[in-house]
């Protein structure tokens, strides 16, 4: 178990800014289940209203009465949901319900079949009627609306015929059996069994819709037929299946009403397509397909059933019910469209929540005698892979002196030491390759922004090492995925320490995270022994460079936004504590790596400016700016200053290296020292660089890979 350190206190923010109502709202709106919030509120409102105005509404007998109708409504709503989610519509549910009811009653009352056999026959019949719909619609390519409207009339005619022909005989039969009887008068926890059958069916349907290939395919088909077809789905078959399921479920509803009333009538199921449709829409299921769950169908059906029962108890007649239902349908259909259209916009508008951040006094780097004073030491560093590379964020060398770097196109390059102008693509890992490190088995372990941590063997084959962690059960947002793995290093015991710079924004959106200036990032540790990834520092503001100290006892971690580097002890008596290494830096630290002579190299993505420091203090200013002007006109943090500093083990800045001209190495985000050279990488550069260290002769090389044998990332 990894002890978690809270990085929140690294800035001087108050406790209350840990929370943001706006951010929570944005996160809440981003939840899929939030689609159901309106129906849930309506359901509660309906129940409370009737319970308060009509006390008898809440008595137990009414609950039984309402759950009997609910069971039938529920199955029809489920049937409708499945078809609508797949982009169709089934208006014939009421017709199927009526026919299966009549047939079930005839088979049971007149032919005296056992209840279970009647049930099977009813389900088969319902499915066949659904198949009839499905074949016409999916195979003959007719419009679902018109087709099912026609089959509704057809099925209703059949039901009327059956009623005329058989119901006088049915009415005279007193045949019953145990199961049939129990379906009507049996009680489970005071409630009719039909309700429990519905609840079980809803759970099963929910799992099918949200957790199975079949369900996903239905949703995919409903979202976009073209895309689903191009993804290789067999739409005709899938479409037929939805109608068959709809028929099956409607058939079950028909069976339920058959057992409840033991009779058929010509009005059975009349208008139930309207009831099912209303339930589905009130439940928040998108009428145009691609969005629907069983729970929402149940919710909608419950509301519809409660409204009917409530009005009935209050003494209103069915006309009032139809009016109320029609109004609810209208309001919710409008709401559904508005909500679906605007939800994304609202989230986009409120998702970014800048916070106030006050950094320490800014040191004047141009002051005479300052160790920070910009210079041109790096201007003439020899370019590597000029023109071939696009954004080598990090650079690393192996024992043979071959140079590796990432590329914004998702590639890892390799350059032979004797040909610095032509490299080869070593691996196409995808994503945004950032920090690099070697494990004990000479695998190249890479942080891939948007994907996680991957390991690339010597033949260039990539495998995922760490892509997710446990979900925080208390957080609204699911942060179990690693969103922006930025830099890593591997400790002697093989554990991989890496930064997940932001749990809210992706790599290309890093500016948003800077604009928020909130502790959105975290530092993770992957333990190859258990294969588990845990958070070791939470609430860290944009953790970036990660470097295990020379002695392997601690890890240095840069916070770009807070302009500081901290040391996390991973061994020894201070294990699990955080202490400052470099504070109040004049720039935004990016990667940090071991240097020769027991020192460290630290690269800066940009330097602090008085204006942006001020902007960071004023959250309101940034909020207005984000809202009112386009992104390319934002006042953002300074970048492209190409500053690298050498730091001693006790945090003293010894030297700074610059390409003051910013012509050759405009932005330096990382660097590695080997054999008297300093290799430079930059997130947006079109080259790497090789700088010859003037004191090369007196420098001892840093250890590139601290991980001992047996501590390989793949061992987990």
């Amino acid at each position: 178990m990894v002890r978690q350190v809270d990085g929140y206190s690294l800035s001087d923010r108050g406790f209350s800014s840990r929370f943001s109502v706006q951010r929570s709202l944005a996160e809440l709106l981003g939840k899929r289940w939030m689609d159901a919030i309106a129906p849930v509120i309506l359901l509660i409102a309906v129940i409370v209203y009737f319970a308060v105005t009509t006390p008898s509404f809440t008595n137990a007998s009414n609950l039984v009465t309402v759950s009997q109708t609910l069971a039938e409504y529920g199955f029809l709503a489920l049937a409708m949901t499945i078809v609508i989610s797949g982009g169709g519509i089934d208006l014939s549910v009421g017709g199927i319900y009526a026919v299966t009811n009549a047939v079930a009653v005839i088979l049971f009352k007149i032919h005296q079949w056992p209840t279970l056999v009647v049930l099977v026959a009813t389900l088969v019949l319902g499915s066949l009627m659904g198949l009839f719909n499905g074949v016409i619609i999916s195979v003959l390519r007719t419009r679902p609306f018109i087709t099912t409207l026609v089959t509704l009339l057809l099925f209703r005619s059949i039901a009327t015929y059956l009623d005329n022909e058989y119901s006088p005989t049915v009415a005279m039969s007193s045949h019953t059996d145990f199961i049939w009887e129990q379906m009507t008068v049996g009680r489970l926890l005071f409630l009719p069994p039909a309700l429990f059958i519905l609840l079980v069916s809803v759970v099963v349907a929910q799992i099918i819709i949200t957790r199975t290939r079949f369900g996903w395919q239905i949703i995919a088909m409903g979202s976009s037929r073209t895309a689903a077809r191009r993804a290789g789905m067999k739409l005709s078959r899938l479409g037929v299946q939805t109608y068959v399921l709809s028929g099956l479920l409607s058939g079950f509803a028909g069976f339920l009403v058959a057992t409840r009333l033991s009779s058929s009538s010509q009005t059975t199921g009349a208008g139930y397509e309207f009831v099912a449709l209303t339930a589905v829409i009130i439940g928040g299921i998108n009428l145009y397909g691609g969005r629907g769950t069983a729970i929402k169908a149940l919710l909608g059906a419950t509301i519809v059933a409660f409204i009917y029962q409530g009005l009935l108890v209050q003494g209103f007649d069915a006309n009032a019910y139809n009016v109320v239902l029609a109004i609810a349908l209208l309001v919710f259909a409008a709401f559904d469209i508005k909500y679906g259209k605007n939800r994304g916009k609202v989230i986009q508008k409120i998702f970014l929540v800048p916070s106030s951040l006050k950094l320490g006094p800014l040191e004047d780097i141009n002051a005479e005698g300052s160790v920070w004073k910009p210079n041109r030491k790096l201007t003439d560093a020899r370019p590597i892979g000029l023109g071939q590379l696009d954004g080598p964020e990090d650079v690393i060398l192996d024992e043979q002196g071959r140079i590796y770097c990432g590329d914004r196109r998702g590639w890892i390059w390799r350059f032979e030491p004797d040909d610095l102008d032509h490299g080869e693509v070593f691996c196409r890992v995808g994503g945004l390759p950032l920090g690099l490190a070697w494990d004990a088995e000479k695998n190249l372990v890479v942080c891939v922004g948007g994907m996680g941590v991957y390991s690339i063997d010597q033949d260039g084959n990539a495998t995922a090492v760490s892509t997710q962690t446990d979900r925080n059960p208390f957080a609204l947002r699911d942060t179990s995925a690693i969103r922006l793995a930025d830099d890593l290093d591997i400790a002697p015991d093989g554990k991989i320490y890496y930064s997940d710079a932001s749990t809210r924004f992706d790599g290309i959106e890093y500016n948003f995270d800077v604009m928020e200036a909130r502790p959105n990032g975290r530092v993770m540790v992957f333990d190859p022994a258990t294969g588990k990834t845990s958070t070791i520092i939470k609430n860290m503001s944009f953790p970036n460079g990660v470097c295990v100290a020379h002695d392997g006892q601690s890890v240095l971690i840069c916070s770009t936004i807070l302009s500081r580097v901290d040391r996390l002890w991973i061994a020894g008596e201070k294990e699990g504590t955080l202490e400052p290494f470099l504070e109040n830096l004049p720039g935004l630290p990016d990667n940090i790596n071991r240097a020769g002579n027991g020192e460290y190299w630290l690269a800066f993505a940009g330097m602090r400016t008085p204006t942006f420091d001020l902007a960071l203090q004023d959250a309101g200013f940034r909020r207005r700016m984000l809202k009112e002007i386009p992104q390319d006109e934002w006042l953002i943090a300074n970048m492209n200053t190409s500053c690298v500093v050498r730091v001693s083990e006790n945090g003293e800045v010894l030297e700074s290296l610059w390409d003051e001209t910013q012509m050759n190495h405009a932005l330096i985000t990382s660097m590695r020292e080997k054999d008297g050279y300093l290799y430079l990488g930059g997130l947006v550069n079109n080259r790497m660089g090789r700088y010859t260290l003037p004191d090369a002769a007196t420098r001892t090389d840093p250890v590139q890979a601290l991980a001992q044998d047996g501590g390989g990332a793949r061992n987990g």
Binding site: N164, M172, L261, Y308, A318, N319
Partner: protein, 364 residues
Amino acid sequence: MFRNQHATQASPPKTGVRRVLVCLIAVATLLLGACTSTGPAPTSVADVAEGGGLPDTANPDEVADYVHETLKGKKVAYAAGASGFPLQDVWRNTFIDSFEQLGIEFTYNDAQADPQKLVQNAQTLINDDPDVLILHNQDLTNAANLIKDAQAKGIYVIVINLASVAQSDAFVGGNFGPAQTALAERMSADCAAKGKEDIAIIQGWSSDGLSVQAVDAWKAVFEAEGMNVVSEQAGQYDPTKAFNIATTVLQQQDNLCGFIGAWDSMMIGAANAVDQAGLAGEVGVYTSDASIVACDAIEAGTMTAAVDYGVMSYGPTIVAMVQYFLESGIPAGTTKNAVFAKYTVIDETNLHESQGSCYTGDSV
């Protein structure tokens, strides 16, 4: 479990239990020597009420007290099959006026001609624990469980007009067999006189008590009289449906003698269809029930004859039955009775002579 709780809550079947309790308390107080009563024997009119019925002798004031005391605060609920027609309206209005005078709480709802909804509506009324449920039943079987359920809860059930296979405390309806036979015989005679034999039947629901009985009776007569039933369809007690059925039948049958149907407010649709086809008088329309709808149509010549099976008398009869049950204290479901009303076939010659014919919704 659930049901038992309700059974003990309902008032009428409690009388036995209460009597035992009264007995026990009385005996206990006797033993304690604190009571001068000689036992649980009734000493006043109110005590008798609990036991059921008046004492052997009582003066008119005592009788009035007894009736008012017994009925006061009792609840009667009426599950109407539909509304807006003279038939249902006359019953409902009778109930409203009569029960109010008797101090009985009266509630009702309306299923709008949907047998399935009627069951839920009636169930909802039962959930509120009334003392009596009046059910305008629509189907021979679908309310059967409901009727048994209500009786088990101690609620008297009175089924009105359309019977159920489950027997209620009282069925108040028509003497349908003979009444419908009389109507069919009248029609057969007319047809024979016209030299026609094709007859179209428009029943209500296929499975309501009246339709089932009526169709049986009609067919028996027509068979015996050599008539030919060319069409038999359900008009669902809906004039529009009857109109559509009649229009279609008229197009198909050239030599139709007439329509016979289950209810005047539905058959007015058929009468209009005949009238619109220009066949009034030529094609007869015969109907069961004789409200103002039938009378007007007979006077206008679009309907031929109607059987008044006593609808007007149902309301008062039911009010009487309710009082009888509540005053008697007989536990619900102990006796199952059926009460039939007088019938008369009316046509243009006698329509104003028959008492109870040509009623309107307000004929109270």
